[in-house]
Symmetry: C2
């Protein structure tokens, strides 16, 4: 028997502006964490040097606590099979970036890469709400809508490493055009924070009803402000969340009939609206399900602290690394 | 090394009216086959007795050719995990039928059960177009629309054994109500043979255009007749298949963004329309995909003979049976 209890993992979450990093143990406890800027590094080599400079003293300091087994990385368009970041629109480094190769060479440690929502799913399976589950879907509802799908206890990467782009599935054919993909009527066009603001602007234009949202400068309208108005009973703000929940529920019904998960785990700023969005979500999900799927699927919230979830998710990739 | 080459499998495909059965070897060759009526048996025990009566002489006769390893069964609402048929609308036996238990007791052979479309996917993986593929989606387009999804080399059964009901995903919210599920705008409501006839009737009503379909008694209209008229250049019949292909393509795009398969394998009467349906299908699939998925997914036809596919699919379940 090998004692795994003293193994440690590094988790790195690369975002367009900032990169978070942390040192994590098997129980999902973060021993150290921090962040650096991503966007100041014009080339990826200088970025990796900067990550190395902050992480090597941490690795040195915790030598006594355990062996660092590897580095897990979550990044937009991160490909698990190739270890590359492919054409990520939010990152300065263009084209195909061989991230795993570069990180391994620099740190002399094995590394694994996937996109941020897939990493979130692996984090939830290792440390969070999906512990012990073999079939679940993770949906992250923030600025965008991401997803990670686990079936038979394994993350679905697809034949090319890019599976699980549920935010870009079409749920309203011919509907709202997405601002960057140009796809009409995708889930992200409605159920992201950006989509919620667009729905509010549309409803304010279409209706003559009184609304405290009319006092807000349209350029400053945010999903948070809409939520605050909804809580105070503003009818248009409430309708924005009801409509968003309806679209989300219809989309979730389709996902359930695909992989029949035990649970759908929701994460991100949008779900802070609680029942305002979740009640219509559940209603419209159940309504669009075949009877054999009804009243079975758990809709639950992530159990990971929002600030730590990205690091934890990335770190959890390490536990599946083969030697 | 155990020599597997002389193992044989029994495949049974249970339909509402008829049940097909066959004895199959590892190469997918059917040594014997036949069929019996399903609907004349008011209880499942009498049905299993009838299956036993036709199969036991076959098993006896082929004793010299190999060892029968087990029995694979495809049936509507067949559940792989529980071995039961649950509330199948087309079968006389109501409620939950413990089919695997009853078959095992009668034949003294291990048995496995799943729904017919899942069995088709397993058949394609073992003997057909999906040999060597680890990620593909099987879509059967006949009277209904069924599906089987393979990811990481495994069929996705979901947490309850019912995954892969893609025919019931909603592709036109608020659209055509399905005649039996009552779900609005599901794929099956448009892309099944039944859906195609409904589309033709709608188009004939909405348009005043000349069409040879107007000479057909509406009660006798079938997807086959519509296809024959389309081939002769009838504009409404052609539009029926173009529209059906559009809906199918939009649905396939959503499925691709879920599990990123290497191929989608199509099977069933509807695809006999060939390019009439497949050209719009591919066009609208590609149009609704993120660039990272475009021009990658193979759209291919089943390689199994239609008459044998159900028996082959069911038999292939046997090769994964654990001792």
């Amino acid at each position: 028997m090998i004692d795994l209890s003293n193994e440690l993992a590094i988790g790195i979450d690369i975002g367009g502006t900032n990169t978070k990093y942390g040192l994590v143990n098997h129980r999902g406890e973060i021993l150290e964490k921090g962040d650096i800027r991503t966007d100041v590094h014009e080339n990826v080599e200088s970025f990796i040097d900067a990550v190395y400079d902050v992480l090597s003293p941490i690795i040195e300091k915790h030598k006594g606590d355990g062996v660092v087994k590897g580095i897990g990385i979550g990044a937009p368009n991160g490909n698990y099979y190739t270890g590359t970041i492919d054409y990520a629109p939010n990152l300065t480094w263009q084209g195909i970036v061989p991230l795993v190769k570069l990180v391994t060479e620099k740190f002399h440690l094995p590394a694994a890469l996937t996109n941020d929502a897939n990493a979130a799913a692996v984090g939830e399976m290792n440390y969070g709400a999906a512990r012990g589950m073999r079939d679940f879907i993770m949906i992250t509802l923030g600025t965008g809508v991401g997803s990670g799908i686990v079936a038979n206890g394994q993350l679905i990467y697809g034949h090319d490493g890019f599976a699980g782009e549920l935010g870009h599935t079409v749920i309203r054919p011919g509907g709202r055009k997405h601002w960057s993909t140009n796809i009409d009527g995708s889930l992200e066009a409605y159920c992201s924070a950006t989509g919620i603001v667009l729905t509010a602007k549309e409803l304010l234009q279409q209706s003559k009803e009184e609304s405290s949202l009319r006092q807000v400068n349209p350029d400053e309208l945010s999903s948070k402000i809409i939520y605050e108005c909804a809580v105070k009973g503003d009818p248009i703000a409430k309708e924005v969340y009801r409509f968003t929940g309806q679209i989300l529920g219809e989309a979730l019904a389709n996902f359930v009939m695909f992989s029949s998960p035990e649970a759908i785990i929701l994460f991100g700023g949008v779900i802070k609206a609680g029942d305002l969005i979740m009640l219509p979500t559940r209603e419209h999900m159940e309504k669009n399900l075949l009877p054999i799927f009804q009243d079975k699927v758990k809709l639950i919230f992530s159990e990971l602290k929002e600030a730590d979830a990205a690091i934890l998710g990335a770190s959890a990739l390490v536990w599946d690394l083969r030697e």
